[in-house]
């Protein structure tokens, strides 16, 4: 079934006591896509991912993973990198990777070969026989990533894979994710890093307070949530711009003004050119970051809600 989505959630709800962690969420993750889960802390991301992993069971709704409904039959085909890293500190790296790979049903020899390939690619060959507790945080995180993919899963779920990594390792891991995509692996990852999500994801899903608020490609999302906004540098500056019809708001950045429009940019440009000399005119789209912040202006206390 090549066209069957890798993951389907239908009206899934999960409650913990009084709190509803995931509230009537439906989504589809196409095969071979990189699918970004975004949302503030405590919005239900981890709970949704755990339900997809069949670690938690939904109270209501149906979850289908790789064509398998409500059982853990597909579990071996799914690699999972949890938000909190989990490695045996006393185990040497290669033995740990072999163990995790075997637990996913991998053959010992195949798993070892795959592990060595990834260790080489991620620059960890030198520590293959070192105990995990000897590794730096960045190294341990890369080892955890390898543990997730070492059994060659068809679907990989990464919970905050980039958090706590320095820029160099971030790029290394991004390349690794793109390599998975080249192999045809479906990748779902959650992140706070909007830039990374924008660059990497084919589709983006945003969950807020347990409810789905965004779902689609970046283009679709920007179109839906896009406000008409232009960056302008023109003689007369902000004072002049505010007098042009159709202007809602002007944010003065000094050398350039950010103008929020009620009407179409084309009409605004015509009106502007009639009044003054225009040095720069750029139609912008809101970044994912802006959309995220718009939707989820976190109240201070929400920062302390643990991810459930």
């Amino acid at each position: 079934m090549p066209d069957r989505p890798a993951i389907v959630l239908e009206s899934v709800t999960k409650r913990f006591g009084q709190t509803t962690a995931v509230d009537d969420v439906s989504l589809q993750v196409p095969q071979g896509a990189i699918y970004g889960f975004i949302g503030p802390n405590g919005s239900g991301k981890t709970t949704a991912l755990r339900m997809i992993m069949n670690i938690l069971l939904p109270d209501r709704g149906v979850i289908e993973v790789l064509g398998d409904r409500g059982t853990s039959a597909a579990r071996d085909q799914v690699g999972y990198l949890p938000e909190e890293r989990g490695l045996y500190k006393q185990m040497p790296v290669r033995r740990l990777l072999t163990y995790y790979g075997q637990l996913k049903g991998g053959q010992r020899a195949a798993v070892q070969q795959e592990a060595d390939g990834w260790l080489l690619r991620l620059g960890l060959s030198g520590v293959a026989d070192k105990k995990v507790q000897m590794l730096s945080k960045g190294m341990a995180q890369k080892v955890q990533f390898i543990a997730t993919v070492v059994a060659r899963p068809a679907l990989v779920i990464l919970d905050e894979p980039f958090s706590g990594l320095d820029p160099v390792n971030r790029d290394v891991l991004r390349d690794a994710v793109l390599e998975l995509k080249r192999r045809g692996t479906t990748v779902v990852f959650s992140t706070h890093d909007m830039t990374m999500a924008e660059l990497l994801c084919d589709r983006i899903f945003m969950i807020f307070k347990g409810r789905k608020v965004l779902d689609g490609s970046l283009d679709e999302i920007q179109r839906t949530y896009g406000r008409e906004e232009v960056l302008v540098r023109a003689d007369g500056g902000a004072a002049l711009l505010r007098q042009v019809p159709g202007v809602q708001d002007v944010i003065d950045h000094g050398n350039v003004q950010q103008v929020r429009l009620a009407g179409h940019p084309q009409a605004f440009l015509t009106a502007l050119v009639a009044r003054t000399t225009v040095h720069r005119f750029e139609i912008t789209r809101p970044s994912l970051h802006d959309i995220f912040v718009d939707i989820a202006r976190p109240a201070p206390e929400e920062d302390t809600v643990p991810a459930a």
Binding site: I55, G86, Y88, Q90, Y100, K104, A147
Partner: protein, 433 residues
Amino acid sequence: MMPKILIIAVAEFEQAVRSKAFLIGLLALPLLMGAAFVVQAYGARRDTSERRVAIVDHTGVVGAHLIDAARVHNAEATSSTGRRTGPHFLAQLVDPAGRGDEDLRLELSDRVRREELFAFVEVPAAVLDVRGERPRVQYFTEYPTYEPLPDWLRTEVGQLVADQRVVRSGGDPVAMRALLAPVSMDRKSLVVRTPDGRVSIAEKVDVLRAFAMPAIAMFLLFALVMSSAPQLLNSVIEEKTSRISEVLLGSVTAFQLMLGKLLGSVAVTLVLAVIYVGGGLLLAAQADYVGLIRWGLVPWFALFLVIAVVLFGSMFIAIGAACSEVKDAQGMMTPAMLVSMFPIFLWLNVAQNPDSAFSVWLSLFPFAAPYLMLLRIAIPPGPPAWQIVLSVLGALLATGAMVFAAGRILRVGLLMQGKTATYREMARWITTR
């Protein structure tokens, strides 16, 4: 399902056997036992102190006798090279010289406090009386737990006083001692008719030896279980605190994880058992104690070992799953430790009276069955078959229930972070699907 359990078991086994703790643990038990033995033997022999004792003698005969007896004792406690082999007693007579009892006692007490004396005794004149209520000898010391000196005094004074009483009643002390010599008794096992038609000669039973084999078997079982089952608690807590549990649960079910761990533990204890039991048998053969070994006990030992490791192991897994930190586990451990150790406190009662109602009921109780039923089987003639069957069935049933409950608790507990569950919550986890 099976292969994943095996993979976990193998990993657990490897991890346990490769660790330094395993090697230390392996050596620790024999080393500790050996060290305790050596220290005790050394300590017992090394009491070569000199104990000065003052004697306030109101009888006129006891004091002089004690001084002579001390000389004999000291000579016996001296090697041919002149070194002391035991404590020496230096007795000295105290002349009251008209002082009252109380003054004298105070003065001698002060001398003991100044460490000029170790102790003093008062021997009232009336101890020699043939009839009537006789007073007791009084022994004064700062060290009431020191035994050799008062033991020696009691024996010597007792013998002399008895002789004196016999003399006063007109008897011959030597003849009297011979008349009053205690009767000895041998303990023998039962006899059978041998193939050539004769009745076998009954073997003399050594009480110490009869106790030795059952006790060794039971305590070895206990040591093996205790060396592995509580480890499972640490292993589960490690997986919880370092968040490995979530990775594992992405690959296997909580139940598979637990069965794998239990299987790994059973394997580790069986290896330890083979090493200890094998070593013990080898030592027994060397020391010519082979006759003491009851080979029929080995399968029972193995069976009860597996049952106990799984029963107590799953209990400790459940506790580990409920705790979020090792230090939280301490409080939860206490009841579990009590449950797993109480049979050991009662072993002597059971060993001395293996077929009493108390022993029977206790050895049928699942948590005590592995230890106490093994003990009863080891003590001849052994319990009736129905009791063995009942205790094994009961223990198996309890083990099954414990494994089930622990699996349920593990499933919920593994993902719980930051707080330790109460027993009430654990009970709810077991009952909710």
